[in-house]
């Protein structure tokens, strides 16, 4: 998988030297570099797939801090590094509102060497993400790619599963969610969940559910949970006050997403509730496995 790095400096020579140095220092590390000389040009390059931004502080049309603030919106999982001679004591950090950015002094003794090492760790360990990743994240994402999830029949089966879940728990919303590298996608929905769009992974509750070793997570009240309380207003706005999710575990034992139910009022969930949702999640995963197997067999036979 190639990593996308945006490098920004208004001095062409310095920019070229930085990229050349990073390319040689990073050796076998698969990284693609895009370059820009202004905040505006750099913002054009930012996408959800950007893995890192390395920027000078002082730029012709603004500052590196402004660019990093934009990156936090566009690619919240990306790592940001200020690579500059500007003294950190003179940099106004209030605009970033607590977001973290790395700093490497351009002129410092080990500046270039440290920049390369730090960039590598920042990308490989996703150090600037605001949520924990499963230990087998790379394997999990590779496994997810093996599944064919774009199919009407499969959708119909999964939609019925969400309907069953909602009816059993007497809730207005339920969904089957897939957790990708940077986002959460709603694969099948019941009730009000049908209007939901895919969201940044850092905004999703399920990104925590997939970490659960017993494959189920229940939250009686999102406004009282330290992981979600700071954005509980938007969750409650979506009709999510109580939540329970059970993981979709593949045949290889990896988790690709969750089956979830949402209630508009706080409510406790019993071990029996958890067990029931876990069983429904297994059923949903069976649908996905069977569909993918049928599709693979069909393709093989079609090739003959």
């Amino acid at each position: 998988m190639s990593h996308r790095v945006v490098c920004v400096d208004s001095n062409d020579e310095a920019l070229e030297a930085t990229v050349e140095h990073l390319q040689s220092e990073l050796g076998g590390f698969d990284a693609g570099f895009e370059t820009a000389g202004t905040v505006a040009a750099a913002e054009e390059l930012l996408t959800a797939e950007t893995d890192a931004v390395v920027t000078e502080y002082s730029l012709p049309d603004g500052t590196g801090i402004e660019l990093i603030a934009a990156a936090r919106e566009r690619c919240p999982d990306a790592g940001c590094i200020l690579y500059t001679d500007t003294d950190p004591e003179t940099i106004d950090t209030t605009e970033l509102d607590g977001s973290i950015t790395e700093y490497v002094g351009k002129g410092s003794l080990f500046g270039q060497e440290r920049l390369a090492k730090l960039l590598r760790t920042t990308i490989e360990s996703s150090t600037q993400r605001s949520y924990p990743l499963p230990q087998n994240e790379a394997e999990r994402l590779a496994n997810l790619e093996a599944y064919d999830l774009d199919d009407e029949e499969l959708m119909a089966s999964l939609n019925r599963t969400t309907e069953l879940a909602a009816a059993h728990f007497d809730v207005p919303r339920a969904s089957v969610n897939i957790i990708g590298e940077h986002s959460q996608d709603f694969l099948a929905c019941y009730g009000g969940a049908e209007n939901w769009d895919s969201m940044d992974r850092e905004e999703s509750i399920c990104t925590f559910t997939i970490l659960e070793s017993d494959n189920v997570m229940a939250i009686e009240d999102v406004t009282k949970d330290p992981r979600f309380e700071s954005r509980s207003e938007s969750l409650v706005g979506m009709g999510i006050r109580a939540y329970m999710g059970a993981n979709l575990v593949t045949d290889s034992g990896l988790v690709i997403g969750s089956l979830c139910i949402y209630d508009e009022s706080p409510r406790p969930f019993s071990p029996a509730d958890e067990a029931f949702l876990r069983t429904l999640a297994e059923l949903a995963m069976d649908f996905i496995e069977m569909h993918t197997r049928a599709r693979t067999t069909g393709e093989t036979e079609g090739d003959r």
């Binding site: 950190p88 209030t94 509102d97 700093y103 760790t121 993400r129 605001s130 330290p226 992981r227």
Partner: protein, 227 residues
Amino acid sequence: MSRDDDAYTFDERLPINPIQAGSTVFVSGEGFSSATDLARSMVVDSTAEEEGSLFISTNQTCGKLLDNCRRTRPGLDASRMGIIDCTGQDIGQAELAAQVRYVSTQSDLTGIGMKFSALYESLYASAEGGRVRTGLLSLSSLCMYVDLRKLFRFAQTLSGRIDSAGGLGVMLIDPTTHETQTINTLSQVADGKIEVREHDGDGAEYDGELRVRGLRDQPDGWVPFSL
């Protein structure tokens, strides 16, 4: 050189075996007292002379912190020591030998992080072999000022820098002041944990007991220590 040759070693008073370079460990104890002393001691009571040390201090001013460091290590050479003082009391560089940077409020994680990075670079350049130990005293205090997502990102960025520079990170946390979900989330940042409790039983000479979790080649069970 194998990684074990790079491991960070501790004064013989601390019953902790060397810890692999690049690691971050939590020191966890109720009400802090002996846990704070242990965490601080793990950063300054090194058996190697030429290492750098860097503290992010949330509750103790740089002067007080330095005094405490000298209690367990009287001959401490503060010239390779850095302190990010987040107490809000800026007394200037004064006569402290350590390099001090001030951040006016604990909620300014961006400011703390950037000053930490810059000071780390400077210590990395001056310490023998770029060896720097970092102490964050304490993570729990920061938790009162910012939400968990920001704090997680901050702690993980710190631990990433420590990893990439082959340093040692020690982060102090009081488990009794947080909900389980907070502890579980933050714990993902650390390679291991050292739990601290009051010494139970005879032996007034002990300051407490510790138990190491999640790190290789460490003593089993609770072990008494004195600083």
